[in-house]
Symmetry: C3
Subunit: 242 residues, 3 copies
C-alpha cells in the first residue's frame, strides 16, 4: 500500500513479534527504536485490539517524526517521555495530533478489521510524500493514556515495575529505567533475588543489568532468564536499594 503511494519509500520492519493485543509491549518496541531513525521518519504502530470500534485512528507529530496508529495508549509513553503530554492525556502544547478522517488519505474500501492496511499505511504514505499533518483530519486535543503499571518509587526507596518484553535470548526487560538505580541496588524478579547490577551479559550466571534500551533487564549468561525464572510479560520486578 505504501509503495503504491510513494514509490521508492524506505520501509523498515521493526517487529511483528509483540504479543497479540499487547499494547504495552508494542510501546516498548517503538520506544526501543524510534530515536535511531532520521527525524523525518513516519512511524507506523498497529497493535490494535479495538480495530473497527469507536477507538480513533490518529497521527501525532513529534521531534523524532510522526507516529501513525490507533489511539489506544500505544504512543502515550513516547509522547510522555518527549514532554509533550500531561498525565491526564492532554497534549501540551496542542496542535500536534489529528484524527485520520480524510477519506482521500484512506483506501477506497476500509475494512472493519485491518486499519493497518486501509487507514494507517495510506496515511503514513501520504505524510511521507509531503502532505501537511492538518490535511489528514481534525486536530485532537487529548489522547488515551494507558492505566499506569509504569515504574514507581516508594517512600522506602524501593522501585516497583514489571516485565514489558522477553527478547529473542530470553532476557526479561522491565520498564524500570537504569538511571533510577544506584550501584548497590538489588533486583528481585518473580520473587527471586537476581543480585546486583553488572555491566555485560558475561559477568555472572543470573544477572541484572541496564540493557541497550536504558531499562533494567534480567538475563542468564548464555541462557534464558525467562525460562529459568519462568518470567512472562506483566510479571513484577522490584529493586531494593541497600
Amino acid at each position: 500500500v505504501i509503495l503504491g503511494i510513494v514509490p521508492g519509500a524506505s520501509i523498515v520492519d521493526i517487529s511483528h513479534a509483540a504479543g497479540p493485543q499487547n499494547i504495552a509491549e508494542g510501546s516498548f518496541l517503538l520506544q526501543s527504536a524510534y530515536r535511531y531513525f532520521p527525524a523525518d521518519t513516519i512511524h507506523v504502530g498497529v497493535i490494535d485490539p479495538g480495530v473497527g470500534t469507536e477507538r480513533l485512528p490518529i497521527a501525532v507529530a513529534m521531534p523524532h517524526g510522526v507516529f501513525v496508529g490507533p489511539d489506544n495508549g500505544l504512543f502515550a509513553p513516547i509522547v510522555l517521555e518527549q514532554g509533550l503530554l500531561e498525565l491526564s492525556g492532554t497534549l501540551e502544547p496542542p496542535g500536534r495530533a489529528v484524527v485520520l478522517e480524510n477519506p482521500a488519505v484512506r483506501l477506497p474500501q476500509v475494512s472493519a478489521t485491518f486499519h493497518g492496511r486501509d487507514i494507517f499505511a495510506p496515511a503514513a504514505a501520504h505524510l511521507a510524500r509531503g502532505i501537511p499533518l492538518q490535511d489528514l483530519g481534525p486536530v485532537l486535543e487529548t489522547i488515551k493514556v494507558p492505566a499506569g503499571r509504569g515504574p514507581r518509587r516508594d517512600e522506602d526507596g524501593s522501585i516497583h515495575g514489571e516485565v514489558v518484553h522477553i527478547d529473542h535470548f530470553g532476557n526479561a526487560v522491565s520498564n524500570i529505567p537504569g538511571s533510577w538505580l544506584n550501584a548497590s541496588a538489588t533486583v528481585v524478579a518473580a520473587g527471586r533475588a537476581v543480585g546486583r547490577l553488572v555491566e555485560t551479559y558475561q559477568t555472572g550466571t543470573l544477572v541484572a543489568l541496564t540493557g541497550s534500551t536504558g531499562l533494567v533487564e534480567v538475563a542468564v549468561t548464555n541462557g534464558s532468564a525467562a525460562k529459568e525464572l519462568d518470567l512472562h510479560v506483566g510479571d513484577t520486578v522490584q529493586v531494593l536499594e541497600r
Copy 2:
C-alpha cells in the same frame, strides 16, 4: 540475487510463515496481498515441494503484475479469480504464461533444491528490469489447478469450505467468501456452532466475521480461536443459512 540484477529494486517480504509444502496456504497469502501492490509488480511465490522434479517453473502475466514460481497450483486461484483460467487449467485468452527455460535468465549453476534462488529470483529480476515475458521461455497453454477443496454451496443452501490459514492472533481464516452469506447465517467450525456474523473482533467472545481479505474467519475476542477450538489448516468450516 535480485539486487545483483536490478540494483535499487524495492523488495517486499510478504510472508515466510506458510506451512512447509502448504500450497493452499501460500495461495491464500498471495491472494491477501497482491491487489494492494502497484500494477507493475513482479510477485514471486515459492511453495515448492516438487523442486527439482518434472514440475515446470513458470511466469504468468496478469493485470496486477507478473507471478513467478512453480507450476503446482500456487497461482491458480488468482488466475481463476481474475477470470483468466478455465477450471480445466486452460489459460483463456492464451499467451500470458511462459516456462522459465531461457538459461540467460537463470543463475549459471541451478541447484536441484532451491529454484527460488536459482530460477525464480533471477527471472523476476530480469522482468523487473524490463525484458519481455516472451524472452523467458516458450508459451504455456495450461497450468496446474489444485484438486478442489474450495468452497461449495449445496442445494439446501449450506456452504462447505475449510480453514486455509491461522493468523498471528489465532484467527482461523476459511476459504468461504463473506459475500456468499446473508446476515442470518450460522457458522460451524470443527463441529461447533460459532454463531452469527458480526462486524468487528470486539463484539462477542467466539465470533465469526468477514475479515480483511473478504473471507469468513472465526475469532475469539482478545484470544485465540485456533487454540480454543483446536482448529488447524484444512479443518472443515460450514455455513448454515436459517
Copy 3:
C-alpha cells in the same frame, strides 16, 4: 541507524533465526548467502555472546564485500574458504582486517550490550557511503578461529561432521561438503543410516542429498527430518564410503 547515515541504502535481512549465541549457525547462514550479493556489499553479522567484553569489533575486506561484526570466529569459515586465512588465525596476505576503534564511526553513546546498533551498523553505513577501511581503526593481523568441529576425513575414508542448521522444513544441514562424497556414500545421522545420496527431496522417504548450499543435508520428503530423527544443531553426521 544505517538509513540515518546512508539514506536510501538497500538493507537485506538474511535471518534473525540463528540460535542464541550459536556462532557456528551464524557462520553457516552467512556462508549460504554472501556469494549471491553484489561485490560491493557490506555484510553485517551479529552473533555476539561476548558483547561488551574484551572481544574486538572488526571489519574484514574480502572479494565478496566487507564483513563487519565481532571477532569471535563468526567470519573465520568464510575467510578460510576464500583462502585468505591460515588455520592459526593469521590473515594472509595481511592488511584486510581492522579493529572498529574510530569513535567517529560509532554512535555517540555505545552501550555495553548492543554493538549491532552502536558499533557494527554505523561502521557498515560509513563503509557503504564510501570511507576507506583504514579509517575505521588500526589494522588487525590475526582473527579468532573457532575450535574445529569442522568436517574431517579419517584414514579409513569415513567423513565426520555435525549438524550446523535445521531449516524451516526440518531439513538437517551438515558441515560436510557434498563434493567430498562419491555416489556410493552412505550417510549416518544420529546413529541411524539415512541411505545413499539422492538428487531431490521427492526421491524417497528419509533421504540424504547435497543441498543448495553445497553441503550434505538429511531430509524427509514432505516431512521433518529433525523431528523424525530427533536431530539438533551440533549432532554428529558421518559418511561411510563403501
